[in-house]
């Protein structure tokens, strides 16, 4: 295991969620599930984060914000869509302002469906995301060596 997977720092953004999934994301970070056991820390800063947790669907107003946060994060980074709205738009998919899932704005690596998404599902998704993070870290290392 590389060091990238041993300290995944998380940033959480509520795109247009009903707050159901947000509460579950925060529940996963609370003492009950204690994800700090795995080195997971909730940061408020995209420049420090490795994993981007998005809840809620993307709409015309927030698509720029989602893209901006994603762009500010440094490689290697992983995006996890938390909840069915973030995966596909969910029950809001045909609202006039909703574009759809988060993958309409930025590349998504792991989908964690659910309404609301269960904390266990979020932890599973993050663990799956760690595998992808490791691959990306290796790719970045190879690129760095090539650069030298």
């Amino acid at each position: 295991m590389s060091y990238a997977t041993k300290s995944p720092w998380v940033i959480h953004y509520d795109a247009s969620s009903c707050n159901g999934c947000d509460i579950e994301v925060l529940a996963a970070l609370c003492p009950g599930y204690d994800v700090e056991r795995f080195g997971i820390i909730n940061t408020g800063n995209p420049k420090h984060a490795d994993i981007f947790l998005v809840t809620g669907s993307v709409n015309e107003r927030n698509i720029h914000v989602v893209k901006e946060i994603y762009d500010q994060m440094l490689e290697p980074k992983v995006v996890i869509a938390c909840g069915i709205c973030a995966c596909s738009g969910g029950i809001f998919h045909d609202c006039y302002n909703v574009i759809g899932g988060v993958d309409q704005a930025i590349p998504v690596d792991v989908y964690a469906p659910g309404c609301a998404v269960r904390p266990e599902a979020i932890i599973d998704a993050v663990v799956q995301g760690l595998g992808i993070l490791e691959e990306k870290a290796k790719a970045l290392d190879a690129k760095k060596k090539e650069g030298e």
């Binding site: 590389s2 060091y3 300290s7 204690d34 056991r37 080195g39 909730n42 800063n45 420049k47 290392d141």
Partner: protein
């Protein structure tokens, strides 16, 4: 008085400090997170988690908003190491204090130079923190001079009793500002370790990857040095006193973790007033009594 020998000893001590302080500081930081987690009824991360964090940050993509930020952070880091070198070489305590202040100023510059509103808020708060603790830290050095008869830290080994016997008031004042220097709640105003207590991330908002790793390691070294300053109060001619000093430093660190977990952040006005009042009452009165009576 200070010849080539002093310079050589200081350089060697700086190099030794640069190797050992990050190791000790990393373990202390790991212990901190473990104990904090237990105090909150959690299991907490592995002991080496701070090390994993820094290794991860070093592997991240290297990007920064401008060219000067990294230079300022490097300067802050180097002066922290120098301050440690001067202290552990038995050198001038006052010089060590000034070097740490210089390091803090470089750190503030690093935040200001990014022109980010969030980093600037952090930098302004960091400046307030420096304003708050600086009088007491200077009084600490002055008190040490009055008690030991020299600014040189090596002077403690020729004493019959630890300096804490004469300047215990200064120690109390210093312990108060130590909370600010260790960046612990309630005085973690510019840069908190805990999420959701912060406007984005205070001073380090624009720092990322390897630069942030440097800041972390610098913070470890600072912690070791500040605890060593505290330990200095308890050292005298007897070699056993070194063990006493280390035990006291660890106890003080535990006390800081306890305070960190039990107090919410205060406003900067309370911090500034509190630190100055404590500095004047405990440090000032203690020194005045020693100087005039």
């Amino acid at each position: 008085m200070y010849g080539f020998e002093t310079v050589a000893v200081t350089i060697v001590a700086t190099l030794v400090f640069a190797v050992l302080a990050p190791i000790v500081g990393c373990l202390l930081a790991g212990l901190d997170r473990k104990i904090s987690a237990r105090m909150q009824g959690r299991v907490g991360p592995p002991l080496l988690q701070p090390y994993y964090d820094v290794r991860k940050l070093m592997g991240k993509e290297n990007a920064s908003v401008n060219g000067s930020e990294g230079v300022y952070v490097t300067c802050a880091f180097v002066f922290t190491l120098l301050a440690g070198g001067v202290f552990f070489a038995g050198g001038n305590l006052l010089l060590s204090v000034f070097l740490i202040t210089l390091s803090a100023l470089f750190f503030i510059m690093a935040a200001y130079c990014t022109r980010s509103p969030y980093a600037e808020v952090g930098a302004a708060r960091e400046t307030l923190q420096v304003m708050s603790y600086e009088p007491m830290v200077l009084l600490m050095a002055v008190g040490y001079f009055i008690a030991a008869g020299t600014f040189d830290t090596a002077g403690v080994f020729s004493l019959d009793a630890p300096v804490v016997c004469t300047i215990w008031g200064v120690l109390i004042g210093f312990l108060f500002v130590l909370t600010i220097k260790l960046r612990k709640s309630p005085f973690d105003i510019s840069m908190s370790h805990h999420a959701h207590q912060e406007i984005v991330r205070g001073v380090t908002t624009e720092m990322s990857g390897p630069t942030l790793a440097k800041v972390e390691v610098m913070h470890w070294c600072e912690n070791v040095l500040f605890l060593a300053w505290t330990a200095l109060f308890f050292v005298w001619g007897n070699p056993i006193s070194l063990v006493v000093a280390v035990v006291v430093a660890l106890l003080v660190y535990f006390l800081e973790i306890f305070i960190d977990n039990n107090f919410a952040r205060v406003k900067w006005q309370a911090m500034l007033k509190g630190a100055w009042i404590v500095a004047l009452v405990f440090g000032g009165v203690n020194i005045a009594v020693l100087a005039f009576i």
